[in-house]
């Protein structure tokens, strides 16, 4: 299937967010693709609050079926969550379960004033009542296939479709 240009989607997302994000918004990227995206947004939008990174592996709802991931990154939220406007960032929004886990983890750090969600792609297929306020593109991907965001050595983003989950790459 023909996939849109991830770089273009990223620019589109930045355009949507401009004006809705302030210097003390807490941007939190969900590993791994969400972090790459969050770094771009953070730089482009001039947010002074330090970027947060979330690995919601400890809050997944499928622990009993698939067990613990290998290669878990420690979540780092370097700002005070209580009372803050938080922007959660992920690459692909699909079932909504990852975002639910991320929100649960975020709440264990404190009570935010509000949480908004920005995603590069919303591929539908929601299994929970989760919605993104900022979306780069909406399109469907056949079920059973995985939509993956990649970053090359020069930092350029691209989208691909594959049959299996991506192995967690080291965060650069």
């Amino acid at each position: 299937m023909k996939l849109p240009d991830a770089e273009a989607l990223c620019e589109a997302l930045i355009a949507q967010l401009r004006g809705h994000v302030t210097p003390d918004t807490g941007i939190v990227g969900i590993v791994t693709g969400g972090v790459w995206l969050a770094e771009r947004l953070h730089r482009a939008l001039g947010v002074s609050t330090e970027l947060g990174v979330l690995d919601p592996s400890f809050y997944r709802d499928d622990f009993d079926q698939v067990g613990l991931h290998h290669d878990i990154k420690a979540s780092q939220i370097p700002f005070e969550v209580a009372g803050r406007r938080v922007l959660l960032v992920d690459d692909v929004l699909y079932t909504g379960r990852t975002v639910r886990g991320a929100m649960n983890e975020l709440f264990d750090h404190g009570r935010p004033a509000c949480i908004e969600l920005a995603v590069l792609v919303d591929r539908g297929g929601r299994e929970l009542p989760v919605a993104a306020q900022y979306v780069g593109a909406r399109f469907e991907v056949p079920p059973g296939k995985v939509l993956v965001l990649d970053r090359d050595a020069l930092g350029r983003l691209s989208l691909t479709v594959s049959d299996k989950r991506r192995e967690r790459k080291a965060q650069t």
């Binding site: 400890f58 622990f63 698939v66 613990l68 878990i72 979540s75 264990d108 750090h109």
Partner: protein, 317 residues
Amino acid sequence: MMARNPQLNDKGTLQHLLTVEGLPREILIHILDTAASFISVAERDVKKVPLLRGKSVFNLFFEPSTRTRTTFEIAAKRLSADVINLNIATSSSTKGETLLDTVDNLSAMHADMFVVRHAASGAAHLIAQHVGAQAHVINAGDGRHAHPTQGLLDSYTIRHYKRDFTRLSVAVVGDLLHSRVARSLVHALTTLGTPDVRAIGPKTLLPTAMEQLGVRVYHDMRAGLRDCDVVMMLRLQNERMKGALLPSAQEFFKSYGLTPEKLALAKPDAIVMHPGPMNRGVEIDSAVADGKQAVILPQVSFGIAVRMAVMSILAGN
């Protein structure tokens, strides 16, 4: 006769943690890496994650121990598990229920995980064989055989301060004969690629054929400490004086106690570890125990993270 490693289930993943010996390097690294991610959980206000919510962890301690049991309890609670503590006296006069009867009764209460400490080597293996795939067993110390979570937390500490196992000289000093901590640490270090692991002690306190575990044996502490990166001091128990193994604590301290002067023979940035509780003036001089090379207190928080890692990996397998 058992042929298959009883720690692994049919899928080849870890069902129980009974001993470090025989575990592939990848599993040890996975545990250490997972422990690292749990460290940050401890630094938050809400120190819990929901991984083991709804699961029951039974602490079966046939040998009394406050510190180890407490760290396992904290670790389980931080994973949101329900924890039940059972301290079972082992005096022969109270030998009513057999070990396996006790386990059966608890299994009937839907225990998901047993943390077992027992005075006899092999007790955790016996329980694991008995419960099979129905529950997970973590060995919290069996006789002088193994204390795998301690070996892992000691390895974690070493990795935290020294990074690369493949360049290290590590000395383990004292009563290795009776020490499950020493055995587990030796297995962990050799599996993780440590090229120079040394055992230092008098002949009466070193096990037979120790070299065959991949260890160099020294009876002269000064020679053994030379250029070491890590010095692990083992606890000496009072009973050793009674069994004609040692004449006195004072004589032991003279030859095998860690003093600043002996520590100076190791590398200048060498770290000093002790599994605790310490006998000051027997294994270790107060000056060293309170000195800047000692990393004894951080070992405690690493211990909670390592046990959280072990429990969550097992529970997910």
